[in-house]
Assembly symmetry: C2
């Protein structure tokens, strides 16, 4: 199958869709808006999961599992929450099928549920209904729980990884004795997401707080990390919510403090999803396909043998296997592709498409000369290296590629971050260059809405490190204390 990838410069959106499918990451299923995550894509997600899970556990969190279904009535208990999620959820109304008498099956009308069940779009309600039973005293706090799960939001327009009806994610749900601790937790988890993005995805992010209109339904504050994609659009890559006492009040979760007084507990929730896969793809990949940072690559090195005769194959394979075990002994994930069903050229393209960080090719002449041909996916450079120095060259190279990808992404973001003072300038930069735009805003919903309607740009966040300064809103001229970060977004 000849794989021709549309160029990014021609049609970024088409390039993305083709890349996801051609690199064997995911595909659309027969179920509207639901994707199949293919083994190669899933193995990258597994690496993400493993690292995040480790970071969660190191900060004292434990995993648990709560039901997929939520009784309809639970949703009504937190007023803003139901408004935010009721419009887009899958509803289970029946629990049985029966023969339709025509060789098919039909829903059995006698098997109607008394109360409909919602397939969880997020689990605050079912979890807080449970926490009421778990929390009595300060001794039960903090309660630091995470869940890896599938959730469903009935999206009208879906795109692989970026927005799908069903997606995989983790959702942390914590309960605390004080407001201060809950805010600390909210910020700590945002910090973990940012650290993961930087150190594993090689993706720089801006940490910030959402405006009121973009807040999670039921939160007092929504923190987020925002990344800039190669087409100049922003992508929200993770959120962490300070929920105040909203859910505790809705589900009556009180605790007795050390001094004997009763109070509602303070809550947070935070999550990242398979959307990170979309972010990873759009941060690094190029016209030849996926580019993976070594820290998340299922195969960090692939070895391709080049040969004509069985004899050559044996000689080449011998070296390849030795190199493979030397590298594996150093903890490097190496694949030796000795399939005789595909030619070397096909394999070269395939592993470029799949973003394997380093490719080693070995032919009969290399065996003679004690060399290998090494190709880097990030720079697309090739060089001959000595077979005896494989370990010395490859081991530090992993770190080097990881850093190079981060630097490239940081430079790209720097080049595509702008500060403007007037609305005219704002519109001009948005139309001509895109990217992140810092501008003063008067803090009102109305102005935010106006900008969104007129330009399609939204406030991504008020960055946590935004410095306090006296300014005026670019639209209304009203006073502003700090700049907001604007962009068109996914």
């Amino acid at each position: 199958m000849a794989k021709n990838l549309t160029k990014r410069s021609e049609d970024y959106s088409k390039w993305y869709n083709e890349l996801v499918i051609q690199a064997d990451l995911a595909e659309n299923s027969g179920v509207r808006g639901c994707m199949v995550i293919k083994p190669y894509g899933y193995s990258i997600w597994e690496k993400m999961q493993a690292e995040l899970d480790r970071m969660f556990k190191e900060t004292g969190h434990q995993n648990a599992y709560f039901p997929l279904f939520i009784p309809k009535s639970y949703f009504s208990k937190e007023a803003s929450h139901v408004d935010g999620f009721a419009k887009e959820c899958a509803v289970v109304t029946h629990y049985r099928l029966k023969d339709d008498g025509k060789g098919g099956v039909m829903v059995d009308p006698d098997a109607k549920l008394d109360e409909e069940l919602i397939v969880r779009p997020t689990s605050e309600t079912i979890i807080w209904d449970t926490y009421r039973k778990w929390i009595q005293s300060y001794r039960d706090l903090p309660l630091l729980i995470n869940q890896w799960a599938n959730v469903v939001r009935w999206e009208m327009r879906t795109r692989l990884f970026l927005r799908t009806t069903e997606f995989l994610w983790q959702e942390g749900h914590t309960a605390h004795a004080t407001k201060k601790e809950a805010i600390f937790e909210t910020e700590q988890m945002l910090g973990i997401y940012a650290e993961f993005s930087k150190n594993f995805m090689a993706m720089p992010v801006i940490k910030g707080v959402k405006t009121e209109s973009e807040r999670f339904a039921g939160a007092l504050d929504t923190y987020c990390i925002e990344a800039l994609m190669q087409d100049g659009k922003a992508l929200q890559a993770g959120t962490s919510h300070f929920l105040g006492q909203n859910f505790a009040k809705a589900f009556d979760v009180k605790f007795t403090a050390k001094d004997g007084k009763q109070d509602y507990v303070w809550a947070t929730s935070w999550g990242v999803s398979t959307r990170l896969m979309g972010a990873l793809i759009m941060t690094h990949s190029d016209d030849k396909g996926l580019v993976l940072p070594p820290n998340l690559a299922p195969d960090q090195v692939v070895i391709v043998p080049i040969y004509r005769s069985d004899e050559q194959f044996e000689a080449v394979s011998k070296v390849a296997k030795e190199v493979m075990s030397e590298l594996r002994a150093k903890g490097i994930r190496v694949k030796f592709d000795d399939r005789d069903t595909h030619k070397p050229g096909w394999k070269f393209n395939e592993y470029e498409l799949k973003g394997v960080p380093v490719r080693l090719a070995i032919g009969p002449r290399d065996v003679e000369n004690g060399t290998l041909e090494m190709a880097r996916r990030d720079t697309l450079t090739k060089e001959s290296i000595s077979r005896n120095e494989v370990v010395e060259v490859i081991v530090p190279l992993m770190e080097e590629i990881q850093e190079n990808l981060l630097k490239k992404a940081e430079s790209f973001r720097e080049e595509n971050t702008h500060e403007v003072s007037t609305y005219e300038e704002f519109k001009e930069v948005l139309a001509s260059k895109g990217g992140f735009i810092y501008a003063h805003w008067d803090g009102t919903n109305e102005t935010e809405e106006k900008i969104k309607n007129e330009t399609k740009a939204t406030i991504r966040c008020i960055p946590l490190d935004a410095k306090e300064e006296d300014g005026v809103c670019m639209v209304t001229g009203k006073p502003s204390k700090r700049k907001a970060l604007f962009a068109k977004a996914y």
Copy 2:
């Protein structure tokens, strides 16, 4: 909270339910038949997952993810499959809620799906619909894929871990070029389940084949592992199905062989679920609570400090922390419970209830004498050990406890396995002793059904190692070539 566990001998079923809840493994949720898996229970499940996942990957399998929802029409494509699963499934009919005008929400009648979606009870249909696109030639085979997922079966009577409406499991789905390879895979995966049960759960199992009436809906053969619980009832702990070409034909999945001929591919599927948690609990636990094999225990060793003054606490803690790091350096999972909110006696009970394999207590006198008190959960024995020999004693003890639990379970099974020749004897053994009963059976559905109706015992399997011999069916006197394994079952 005083925790009083019903004795096994009084009411086994009540003992089980209380144990699951009191040991913080799981609890019922507000959603009918769906459980909440609590952090301690989930951490055991995570250990099971990790080991199984490793074993799957070592045998060449990769993980992937397929949609939660299955279009209704997919079910009708494989005739026996729909019969087996249509009766017990959750059906999504709508995709939106709206305000009901009374402060609650209602299903929006305008948001009815054209085709209803079934929440997957198992994923053969959606996966085979996908495999049609993935498989063209022998080069694409074998396709060895596993999925970790939640599934839903609308059970009328549910019990924590053993039978719940939603449960967690893994489902392997493989495609092969030949019948022989598919049968090899089916048996290989059964072998992995048996090995896991023995080496990690310390639970001996019988490997066998199900009779026609107990076969998976759509399979040509269902292999299973059967374990004996302490109340003399059997529990099916895992199944591996040889699906023949049934799903390939239903979903039109053909491949071109090396010789250019087209044929349908051969299939298997195999799964174990959170039901293994129930099996683990019922194999080893006692009247004091859970008993965990070290290979699956979240904490293998717990250290409890005993002290009155702050000074004593410091001296005791110093030793405890040293011991903890020495043991951790050897890869042992150690918890030091230094909470001042609970007394040592409470902690002793708590860790017995939670099945921690080894408890170490350290008091001021131990600090003086250079000793620790060591208690084994499996034998409930206590002894004083030298502080300097902690590593030498504890490290091999882990293996010893693991083996002891397996031996105990094997002895129990041996004592509760019977061979009978007449139906009278069969009924008598079943009524007086229970357990596994080997008996000749004529191989017909009618006789199997009659025995089930009259005694509630079912054929658990025809054991793979059943020796060929000439016998007569205990009920009909017709000839039989090998004994079947009967038991009452969960």
